[in-house]
């Protein structure tokens, strides 16, 4: 118990006056996961919107597939990206393995289905309300999609957050494609795994505390945005 107490004390000390290493790890984590979230939103939101407003044969199968992909195990994604990016793989010539870019690719693949599936649900409900009016106005499909995305913006913020939460917290995919290389591809989750296995509980705990704080902070921010929007009755 003595050790744990010391570890906690050290961890809080680190959080309050972080070292360069710690900041570097947190910074890379944020860079990778925010970039992956942004790309996943760019791909997933229009895809979700399109699925919300269109009806085509095989749509049901696509929905099942996307919903199933929400539960993709990160290590499997990591493995697939690894196979593609490794020297012998089809994209090996790009030389991306063990770089932050590879980690962004893996996380993007991991969370795009989440963004698409959740936004599809939200936008389909919204579309049920708007569809007849939009048809009366003779809007094009693209105009409808744009309007739905904009009018669902506050709910979609939560979707983006869900994606970010999943990306920043996963360890399997970034470990495989990033390799947890110090000063290059070491992020919070891989560092926590490594430091714990080395018995360096202080650094692991400090990172854990920061990770939790980020998760809480982002959630609180989005929640307050939504609540203020609801108060003003813009989103209801």
């Amino acid at each position: 118990m003595q050790d744990f107490g010391e570890a906690f004390a050290l961890a809080f000390g680190l959080v309050l006056s972080p070292t360069g290493d710690l900041l570097e790890i947190v910074g890379l984590s944020m860079r990778v996961s925010l970039t992956a979230t942004a790309i996943a939103c760019l791909l997933g939101l229009p895809l979700g919107a399109l699925l919300a407003v269109t009806r085509f044969p095989g749509r049901g199968a696509v929905l099942v597939a996307i919903n199933a992909l929400m539960g993709l195990p990160p290590v499997v994604v990591g493995l697939l990206v690894y196979l593609n990016l490794s020297r012998a793989g089809p994209l090996g010539f790009l030389g991306l393995l063990y770089t932050p870019t590879a980690m962004i690719i893996a996380q993007t693949i991991l969370i795009t289905p989440i963004v698409a599936a959740l936004s599809r649900q939200i936008l389909e409900d919204l579309n049920a309300e708007y569809a007849e009016q939009f048809r009366s106005l003779c809007l094009s499909r693209w105009q409808s999609v744009q309007a739905l995305l904009w009018d669902g913006r506050y709910a979609l913020l939560t979707v983006g957050l869900a994606g970010f939460g999943r990306a920043v917290a996963e360890v399997g995919a970034v470990m495989i494609v990033g390799g947890n290389i110090d000063h290059l591809t070491r992020v919070m989750t891989t560092a926590i795994a490594l430091e714990t296995s080395k018995g360096q509980l202080a650094l692991a705990l400090a990172l854990g505390i920061i990770l939790m704080a980020i998760a809480l902070g982002v959630n609180a921010l989005v929640q307050s945005l939504r609540m203020s929007a609801e108060r003003r009755n813009v989103y209801a």
Partner: protein, 249 residues
Amino acid sequence: MFMRDLAFPDVVPCTETDLMPLQVEGVRLCLDGKAVLDGVDLRLEGTGCTVIMGPNGAGKSQLLKLIHGLKRPDAGRISWNGRAAAAVTARQALVFQKPVLLRRSVAANVDFVLKARRRDRGLRDGLLEHVGLLDKARQPARQLSGGEAQRLMLGRALATEPEVLLLDEPTASLDPASVLAIERIILRARERGVKVILVTHDTGQARRMADEVVFLHRGRILEHVPAEQFFPEPETREARDYLNGRIVV
């Protein structure tokens, strides 16, 4: 109050439509296996305000959606001076019973339609003034009262420069002042040559607005006569009962 007399004459320009006459022949519409409209024949001419009346479930709203081209009939033909209904939806505007407002400001709701129709955005303030909402332009549209929301729906409908204005019980459950404001906006569109087709439950409103009346009952048209003929002496017992406030089923 806000009904300044044609302060913005360009907002609702004079229209001369070649969409009329509207010809409905033998139209049948089934919903969930039940015929909502059955053998509807109707010919609407020229300008003015046609009021469609009838008890609940008579098929009034469905008829409106059919002629607007939002739905296809199971049988029969609808033609706007030879054109299919779905082909001329864009030249008409439908105001729904329940306002469908975008989750944006009042002004952005009008902007949205002006942009979608590639019309001059400078028309927005004139349109808002026309429907008495200029002072609420920056307010979220969903904060409007029922009457204001419906006026915004009308403003948005007029922003499409419709040749035909279709209204599905636009004043249902509104207070008298709102009803009056909305009726004035509709009448001014009518004065400028917009053909108005109004579905209403309110016999008082029908008396004030109608140039002619179509009385619908159980999916069929029982009467289609000029207003001055319908209101004093309806031909059918159902219409008489309806006007006298008896329950017609």
